[in-house]
């Protein structure tokens, strides 16, 4: 019945039962993957790094949305705005208080967390689509405040922020070194999210998602759990914003429009709800699609002639929509579910089930 693990691996005690990577092969593969991620910038060069760093940032944000929507089941259509809060927190702290990036990074998460908790409070009374609209309001309130509080946020002109300087002899103004920083933060956040999902709070989140009435009657404080989910998810969003914003050393309120918030949800569907792997896959697919759509534009010039210039803006939208619809029709549980199926059929190989 339970075929979630390779053949021939048994748990001899309850500590082994909690392990994520049981066989030496999987441990080696994980180590190789991490090493590969650190080696890859030496291979792909400047262009590759310019794709990989945003992927890292969006992965963190996607993990946050996975916690809110995938695990706790609370739809949030305002996630990009919380990312924006992270960006602006770093920019404001650097400009007015002279914070270094290192000090501003945790603050970006904490401020986003505080705002997230405030906007998560409606979740105590609302469910499903109604809550989705409450979070939609959060998006508009945040964007409105940022674009109109000109004296602090510089309005729609955006703000400049600086990357961390030299630390331990590593110069983070260099793109490659900054990628290493982003990757390390991503790895840490992934570790935190993975452990969250498999411990006490993670089970409580899934309990609230699957059956909130039963959860309340089974000793789980549903209100606190929902608000905590929003808080932690927005913490991730804030950190992701700080990492992403500092990469461009500039932040503008137009970078996190409503469409970004919705694409966040859309690509979470592509990646798959309720798994850490799904969040990462969603972020990777999103940014790769982004790059593909810009690559395709010159090719269409032959087909469309001068109109290609006007069509180019629509390409990314077209691509995004197509891929999300494809997944909704053919694999509504996302890449992560498909990946599990592949693993399962590989492990069972000669037999169909």
């Amino acid at each position: 019945m339970n075929i979630n693990r390779p053949c021939g691996t048994f748990d001899r005690n309850y500590f082994q039962a909690k392990e994520l990577y049981r066989t030496p092969l999987r441990k080696t593969l994980l180590a190789l993957f991490i090493i590969a991620m650190y080696v890859i910038p030496f291979v792909v060069g400047e262009y590759g790094i310019s794709i990989l760093t945003p992927i890292c940032a969006f992965t963190i944000g996607m993990l946050g949305l996975q916690i809110i929507t995938g695990y706790a089941g609370q739809i949030s259509i305002g996630h990009a705005a919380f990312m924006g809060i992270g960006m602006y927190t770093v920019a404001i702290l650097q400009k007015y208080f002279g914070f270094s990036f290192w000090l501003a990074l945790p603050f970006s998460g904490l401020v986003a967390m505080a705002v997230g908790i405030i906007f998560g409070i409606p979740a105590l009374r609302m469910k499903g689509l109604y809550l989705a609209f409450a979070t939609l309001a959060a998006h508009f309130v945040i964007v409105y405040v940022i674009s109109n509080w000109r004296s602090v946020t510089n309005g729609t002109d955006g703000m400049y922020m600086s990357r961390p300087g030299v630390l331990f002899g590593i110069d983070f103004t260099d793109d490659r070194n900054y990628y290493f920083l982003a990757l390390t933060v991503t790895a840490i956040m992934t570790y935190l999210a993975t452990n969250l999902a498999r411990t006490k709070l993670g089970r409580a989140l899934v309990a609230v998602r699957d059956n909130d009435i039963a959860a309340e009657l089974m000793g789980i404080n549903v209100g606190t759990t929902k608000v905590l989910a929003f808080g932690i998810g927005c913490f991730f969003a804030g950190v992701s914003g700080a990492i992403g914003g500092a990469y461009y050393e500039y932040v503008n309120v137009e970078w996190f429009g409503l469409d970004d918030s919705i694409w966040y949800l859309g690509f979470l569907v592509v990646g798959g709800f309720g798994s850490i792997f799904g969040a990462i896959a969603g972020a990777v697919v999103w940014k790769v699609m982004d790059e593909l759509s810009t690559l395709v534009t010159p090719l269409t010039e032959a087909l469309l002639g001068g109109a290609a210039f006007y069509a180019s803006a629509a390409f990314s939208l077209l691509f995004y929509s197509l891929i999300i619809i494809t997944f909704l029709v053919f694999e509504p549980r996302g890449i992560s579910h498909r990946w599990e199926m592949i693993k399962r059929s590989y492990r069972l190989h000669p037999f169909p089930y």
Binding site: N2, Y14, F15, T199, V206, N211, A215, E216, L217, M218
Partner: protein, 289 residues
């Protein structure tokens, strides 16, 4: 680890040993003289939904470690009574005392933490989790670390997880769920899901167990299994069990006391023999056959 293993060895001779140990640490009543004492007192409960009177001046005691069956025709207010006890409905009038503590206005999760655990008429499991995780999720209030510790996964969080898993395995062994422990509950058969739900209620370290139709829709074998589990829980954990059931054969066999409701009104209370003879109960529910 050796500690846990040792406890596991003991289990084979005792049954639910780990869980019983957990409960006994917190038990308020200690000796057999107290068995007649009311653990849960429901006093003069009135509950209405608009003009509909669901419960009308209902008072009932649950004592020591007895099995109390609540019976009555459909819509008599049996489930409403359980919902009032577990804090899901708020009664308009009346009080509920649990171990002399007034719990009428407590929120549901606090009542559950006190040890009033229940199952549901329509299965209400966490369908996305596995059987083991469902049972460990039931232990939520008794897990001793906060979410930050869990996120960073300190060694003591790992030890705590292993300990909780040991207790969950204790329950899984007791309820004979070993073969499905890794399956997602959404895929399980109905009878098994009912059993998982009982397991989740057990994981909460119950000091009183409220079972809402645990045998509905089961065949004779499954009913016998469930009856055996209920009696065993009653014996091993020495806790009272409140049982709503429509199968009169089972009720008359396993219940120590029966409480009869009809359209929100309590009409009788007593031992199975008394209830069988009671003219009011016969006309309202049992019928003359």
């Amino acid at each position: 680890m050796r500690d846990i293993t040792k406890k596991r060895e003991q289990r084979y001779s005792y049954g639910l040993a780990l869980l019983r140990e957990c409960i006994e640490k917190k038990r308020l009543w200690t000796n057999n003289e107290d068995e007649k004492k009311a653990v849960l007192r429901v006093e003069n409960i009135d509950l209405s939904f608009g003009d509909l009177r669901a419960l009308n001046n209902v008072s009932v005691d649950v004592r020591g470690h007895e099995i109390l069956a609540i019976i009555g025709p459909n819509g008599a207010g049996k489930t409403s009574l359980l919902n009032v006890i577990s804090g899901f409905y708020r009664a308009q009038r009346g009080d509920i005392y649990f171990n002399e503590e007034k719990i009428t206005r407590f929120s549901s999760h606090k009542i559950a933490e006190r040890g009033i655990c229940r199952t549901f008429q329509n299965i209400a499991l966490y369908s996305g989790l596995t059987v083991t995780d469902n049972i460990i999720a039931g232990r939520h209030p008794h897990i001793n670390y906060n979410f930050l510790t869990g996120m960073i996964y300190f060694p003591w969080a790992n030890r705590e997880e292993a300990y909780q898993r040991a207790i969950a395995e204790d329950i899984i062994d007791f309820l004979e769920l070993e073969h499905v422990r890794g399956s997602v509950v959404g895929m399980l058969a109905y009878g098994l899901r009912k059993r998982v739900e009982l397991g989740r209620a057990l994981a909460l370290e119950p000091r009183i167990l409220l079972l809402d139709e645990p045998m509905a829709g089961m065949n004779v074998d499954e009913k016998e299994d469930m009856a055996r589990f209920i009696i065993d829980i009653n014996e091993f954990l020495k806790i009272p069990i409140v049982l709503i059931e429509h199968d009169m054969g089972v009720v008359m066999d396993i219940a120590d006391r029966i409480f009869v409701l009809d359209f929100g009104n309590p009409i009788a209370e007593g031992s199975p023999e008394e209830i069988k003879q009671n003219q009011k109960v016969i006309s309202a529910y049992l019928g003359t056959g």
